[in-house]
């Protein structure tokens, strides 16, 4: 049989169209379009907006799991931290703006607060790496995944209760980031905040890909995830790269939290639902598969929204959980695959 690359173009397109990845993506898009035509464009808008953010969070989770093998169950709290820091930057800025209106500051203020949220979350991540995971690594590599799972649960408890103790459990949010009128896209009104969130997620995904593929640090992170010893042997400083990976992962989660402050006000347990969503996506897509989380984020967001619209408000988490059960039985390596093999794909 000839090499695929030598076959005519039509045949190659046909081959790729039949791959499970492409079929899944096409199926998802088809379902989304059908539902939108049936119920209204808010389905498409909400899917795209929240999906983008779930994709970013899942990218962070897949990164920390793939590179450092940490089963992170506290990234929901990084989401919360992002929102919290953002709130504490935007609120004084708004107070100032209400007394001294300023066009440029009104446009820049949300960006500053989102940046503050992201950096704050990233710093917390680096602190956990230096004071929690590095000592664990030095002590023992046995049962690593289980240990990190338990440790991150602990971090989660500390952060949730820390928030409650220090900042109280009221909802700390904003009605909207930007004071602009909603924009019209394809006949629907979309608030500026939501449009920004979507654009931000696309830009971040593109930036992330460029970073991983073309920058020296990105290549070093990929090297560490593929062969730690090999990375050491070519001179990569593991401590630095691990700290940077953690900063990147927690930063992505915090970015989602900060961007979505108008949708998810910050309170101690706001991170629980995003945590589950991120893990849904990572499991469905395949543990450690970072590229697939982009598609997975949108898929899980879509299923949740469809479930909420067609079946009922409270069923939002049920359907994704059912899908995960089915996938774990028949294809534990996830839709887009990793090294884990299941009973049916031997």
């Amino acid at each position: 049989m000839e090499l695929l690359s030598k076959r005519p173009l039509v045949e190659r397109i046909g081959y790729y169209l039949r791959s499970p990845v492409v079929l899944t993506i096409l199926g998802t898009i088809g379902l989304l379009i059908a539902a939108t035509l049936h119920s209204g464009s808010y389905i498409l808008v909400n899917t795209v907006v929240t999906g983008g953010m779930w994709a970013l969070m899942s990218m962070g989770l897949a990164l920390v799991f793939g590179v450092m093998n940490i089963a992170h169950f506290a990234i929901g709290e990084m989401f919360m931290a992002g929102g919290l820091f953002s709130y504490f930057v935007i609120t004084p800025l708004y107070d100032y703006l209400s007394l001294n209106p300023n066009e440029t500051l009104a446009a820049l203020a949300p960006i500053l607060s989102i940046l503050a949220g992201t950096i704050g979350g990233a710093m917390i991540g680096v602190l956990t790496e230096i004071f929690i995971f590095r000592p664990l690594r030095r002590r023992s590599r046995e049962q690593w995944i289980m240990n990190t799972f338990i440790l991150t649960l602990g971090i989660s408890v500390v952060m949730i209760n820390g928030h409650h103790l220090l900042f109280g459990s009221e909802f700390k949010g904003v009605v909207s980031y930007w004071p602009y009128q909603p924009i019209t896209v394809l006949g629907t009104l979309i608030s500026f905040d939501r449009a920004f969130v979507f654009v931000c997620s696309i830009v971040m995904m593109g930036g992330f890909w460029i970073f991983m593929k073309f920058t020296k640090i990105g290549q070093a992170i990929r090297a560490v995830s593929q062969d730690e010893k090999g990375a050491l042997m070519v001179g990569v400083n593991l401590n630095t790269i691990q700290a940077l990976t953690m900063a990147l992962s927690c930063g992505l989660a915090a970015l989602s939290g900060a961007c979505l402050l108008f949708m998810f006000p910050s309170y101690p347990t706001v991170g629980v639902a995003p945590l589950y969503n991120a893990w849904f996506v990572v499991i469905v897509v395949g543990l450690g598969n970072v590229a697939g989380t982009i598609v997975g984020g949108f898929m899980v967001a879509m299923f949740q929204i469809l479930t909420t619209v067609y079946i009922g408000e409270g069923w939002g988490l049920v359907f994704p959980s059912l899908i995960i059960i089915v996938i774990l039985i028949f294809k534990p390596s996830g839709l887009f695959g990793t090294a884990v093999r299941g009973i049916l794909d031997q």
Partner: protein
């Protein structure tokens, strides 16, 4: 004052947890020498290399590279100093292409021109790698992987290369290519230590050798003399 000895290992004890593998091992390598460490399986040859480059902590003894003690140094810092270890398992980045692996090899280098020049050197040494520069490292054959591992090691511009069993599991033709590449490296001024089980060929191309048996240096000397030695001939060369 020039430090003549590139690498000095003095009275090294090392092992894995409770299992001691090396017992008082001492060796040295001069600039430009081609030295080998040979011995039966399980004697501890790989462990010497792993301890020197920092992957395994030493329990006792001293390791001096260019006159400075490197016992407690991490592997990546040792690589920056100019000592590069090429493992038997190759430890390649399987999800990256040949070219990406080689570029990662030059991670510690700041000079772009030097990197480009080293890349050209590697490709002229192993034309096969240039042919397959965009192929994923994980899909390459055993011989190609060894070549890539050596190439990646060269990319860090080392002064001393520790090569661990390059011919293991390779067809004789490929083994010849790899050995020839090391001779070329040596001719261009690289200092090499080779750990090998292929004793005959190794003693032919190296200057000096150490025989390691059960974690201790049993014999040492010029390779030509070792090849004539009765014990060596009986145990390793089957004569």
């Amino acid at each position: 004052m020039e430090v003549s000895l590139l690498l000095e290992v003095k009275d090294l004890d090392s092992g894995y947890g409770f299992l001691q593998v090396l017992w008082g091992v001492s060796l040295h390598v001069d600039h430009g020498e081609f030295v080998c460490v040979i011995g039966p399986n399980g004697a501890g040859k790989s462990t010497i290399f792993k301890t020197i480059c920092g992957l395994v902590p030493s329990a006792k003894g001293e390791i001096l590279f260019k006159g400075r003690c490197i016992n407690k140094l991490e592997t990546n810092r040792i690589c920056q100093r100019g000592l590069c270890y090429i493992s038997e398992e190759t430890n390649l980045f399987t999800g990256m292409t040949v070219l990406e692996n080689l570029i990662m090899g030059g991670y510690t280098l700041k000079d772009k021109k030097k990197k480009k020049q080293l890349l050209d050197d590697v490709f002229s040494l192993f034309p096969r790698l240039e042919e397959r520069r965009n192929q994923l490292a994980g899909t390459m054959s055993g011989g190609e992987r060894k070549m890539l591992a050596i190439g990646r090691g060269i990319m860090s511009d080392p002064e001393l290369l520790l090569v661990d069993e390059p011919s293991l599991g390779l067809a004789p033709v490929i083994t010849l290519q790899v050995m020839r590449a090391m001779e070329v490296l040596r001719k261009n001024g690289m200092t090499l230590i080779l750990v090998e089980q292929n004793v005959k060929k190794t003693l032919q191309i190296t200057d000096r050798g150490y025989i390691l048996e059960k974690g201790q240096i049993a014999m040492q000397g010029r390779s030509a003399d070792l090849a004539q030695d009765e014990h060596v001939r009986k145990v390793f060369l089957g004569v």
